[in-house]
């Protein structure tokens, strides 16, 4: 009995450690980097990090629900490409507020379109969703290329007022950047959705067991539309934050975001098996990914090796996720 007791204590301890592995890793990473490179904790670098994680954070927050709902979204890259070129091109003719709204609407529509195609085909598995959203990503990207004729658009070409975008890109409210404020608002809204609304619960149930949820009267089709629409909206928000920061929008600006978002979500501890997870975990995941890349930057590691590291962490995180939920 005592052996069993110790065993289970160890198991509980191990599971807690695994659950908060991200936090431990973040702490370790911060400590290590600060030790090697004191510049890491300088105000400039911290501000830099704050701006750096904006776009990925938005995108990953949206992707969280798609994954909690038991699906996956590779169309994010295409959505970002499209939203970025559409929004930036409309500032001049339409004014910045309509441009902003059109951009957000475009992203939401792209997301909803994913779900409509998935639902109409009756695709229920992650694999089917993965391939279908990949195809759609290609389509969205191609539309972005056709729309922009493949050229990059710059802020300095815009003579109309673009104050909102400039504020998002580099402005601050007190010591917080505007993009950080947007992040806080989005996080709060999505957390409320996740924890306190009926639809948030329906999404979880859908991810937990689609068949059982449907037979209990849960509107799983609506949940699927909602998760992809949120995914698209947040991708659009991410696109806007992104091009505002770099002050240019190219039709390939979003490449890599889809995998990085999945990476952040899974690293944070939301399981790919659906049903479980949280936007708060995703925040951790994004923090870890961004801190790691910042740390590698400071240490002078090439960006290409960073991709290698990301791939390795993604693979490891997926493997760990699978072990945890076997």
């Amino acid at each position: 009995m005592t052996v069993q007791g110790t065993n289970s204590a160890i198991r509980v301890g191990a599971s807690i450690l695994r659950d908060y592995l991200v936090l431990v890793m973040i702490a370790a990473l911060v400590a290590l980097t600060a030790l090697i490179e004191p510049k890491f904790l300088s105000p400039e670098n911290l501000t830099n990090i704050m701006f750096q994680f904006g776009p990925l954070m938005m995108v990953a927050l949206g992707t969280t629900f798609v994954i909690i709902g038991g699906f996956i979204d590779l169309s994010i890259a295409g959505t970002i490409n499209l939203v970025a070129v559409v929004t930036i091109s409309l500032i001049q003719p339409m004014g910045q507020v309509p441009a902003l709204l059109t951009g957000l609407a475009t992203g939401t529509v792209c997301g909803a379109l994913n779900s409509v195609l998935i639902l109409s085909s009756g695709a229920l598995t992650q694999a089917e969703a993965l391939f279908m959203t990949f195809g759609l990503s290609t389509v969205y990207s191609a539309i972005a290329l056709l729309y922009s004729h493949g050229s990059t658009m710059h802020f300095w070409d815009i003579t109309a007022s673009k104050s909102i975008f400039q504020a998002i890109g580099s402005g601050s409210l007190g010591f917080l950047s505007w993009s950080f404020v947007i992040f806080l608002i989005s996080l709060a809204a999505l957390w409320v959705f996740q924890e306190m609304t009926a639809e948030g619960r329906a999404v979880r149930l859908t991810g937990g067991n689609k068949t059982a949820a449907r037979l209990a009267g849960v509107r799983i089709s609506r949940s699927i539309v909602v998760i992809y629409a949120i995914g698209g909206f947040m991708a659009a928000l991410g696109a806007i934050v992104l091009f505002s920061r770099v002050t240019t929008a190219s039709p390939v600006i979003g490449v890599g975001y889809e995998t990085n978002a999945i990476l952040a979500v899974v690293v944070g501890g939301t399981t790919l098996k659906g049903g479980k997870g949280s936007v708060l975990r995703t925040v951790m995941g994004v923090l870890l990914v961004v801190l790691m890349s910042n740390c590698l930057n400071l240490l002078g590691v090439s960006t290409y090796l960073q991709v290698v590291a990301e791939g390795a962490i993604l693979t490891f995180a997926i493997w760990l996720d699978n072990r945890k939920h076997m």
Partner: protein, 321 residues
């Protein structure tokens, strides 16, 4: 809902033979195009340029029939190509360089198999991760710039002809025959079908399911590396950019042919047809001077349509009450 009559038959043909139908439609369409599409040169050229994709597809087919899939082939392909060129440029004999590059693919396939089969991780997502990792490796190796090959005889592998037929086509046909034989006439192949059809039944029947399915991933990785070597020979450069969408296109192409993600059905000839759809599509669009952006869009749309049809067919099967 009474699924009888002509409508149902037509539907069955459409879903089962979608690749063949798509090819026929394109071939007929091109009759009216007043282009050089039907010249022997163009057709051979098309076959040659599709060969690499076909070789990738033959390997991937094994994993999909076994109930998995392999999205790391794009990464394996580019890294293997770069490795072979870099090794040769560093003075290694061509044969050894190629051998090592292909061996690299075998090793990655082995790792894929370990994760996806032995550890039972969802194959599509884990191979996607490995693919991402390899893309990083490729960029690191090349510093994101193409690496030209300095060995002229290497270039001849991918660009030479044998009795008027491009080498690539010949290699592709040999691999076609080999994998076809493997899947059709060997116990390994038949066991893969059984594993994809019903994993548990295969296990209870005494098939070493893990080793067999694992081997499918190893073969897929090896063939992807071979395709990578051929691609870098054809282009005479090694570059990190070609691999980005290749993996997804090839996996989709295999499904177009009629090999389903559900596992257990399909085959090498079907995959060949499926990939020919993409080859033919690209070639026809080039012949018709369609803009490259529009080509990308069409390719994406075709993928969506195919996966949609595959899912819909499975839904129909599920709902056949």
């Amino acid at each position: 809902m009474n699924g009888t009559g002509k409508g149902a038959t037509l539907y069955k043909i459409l879903t089962k033979q979608k690749a063949l139908i798509a090819i026929l439609v394109m071939l007929i369409g091109m009759l009216f195009s007043h282009s050089n599409f039907y010249s022997a040169f163009n057709l051979l050229q098309m076959l040659s340029s599709t060969s690499i994709l076909l070789i990738l597809a033959f390997g991937v087919t094994l994993t999909i029939i076994a109930g998995g899939c392999d999205l790391s082939i794009g990464g394996i392909m580019v890294v293997a190509g770069i490795v072979s060129i870099k090794l040769m440029n560093a003075g290694m004999p061509m044969g050894l360089a190629i051998f090592l590059a292909i061996l690299f693919g075998t090793v990655v396939g082995f790792v894929n198999g370990f994760l996806a089969v032995h550890q039972k991780t969802e194959p599509f997502i884990i191979t996607l991760g490995i693919g991402l990792l390899l893309t990083g490796v490729a960029q690191q190796l090349t510093n994101a710039h193409p690496v030209p090959a300095q060995n002229p005889s290497f270039m001849m592998i991918g660009n030479g002809y044998f009795h008027g037929v491009p080498n690539l086509v010949i290699i592709m046909l040999v691999l076609f025959a080999l994998t076809y034989w493997l899947m059709r006439y060997t116990e390994f192949g038949r066991n893969l079908y059984a594993i994809g059809g019903d994993y548990e039944v295969a296990r209870y029947s005494g098939i070493d399911v893990i080793r067999t399915k694992w081997l499918a991933f190893v073969i897929s990785g090896t063939m992807a590396a071979l395709a990578g070597v051929l691609l870098s020979s054809e282009l005479n450069t090694g570059s990190a950019v070609y691999g980005e969408t290749t993996a997804l296109v090839v996996n989709c192409g295999v499904v177009v042919g009629g090999t389903s993600f559900a596992g257990g059905i399909g085959g090498i000839p079907q995959s060949a047809l499926g990939l020919l759809v993409f080859g033919l599509l690209g070639n026809s669009m080039n012949m018709l001077n369609i803009s490259s952006y529009f080509q990308i869009m069409l390719q994406g749309a075709v993928i969506v349509a195919i996966i949609w049809l595959d899912s819909y067919a499975q839904k129909r099967k599920r709902e056949a009450v």
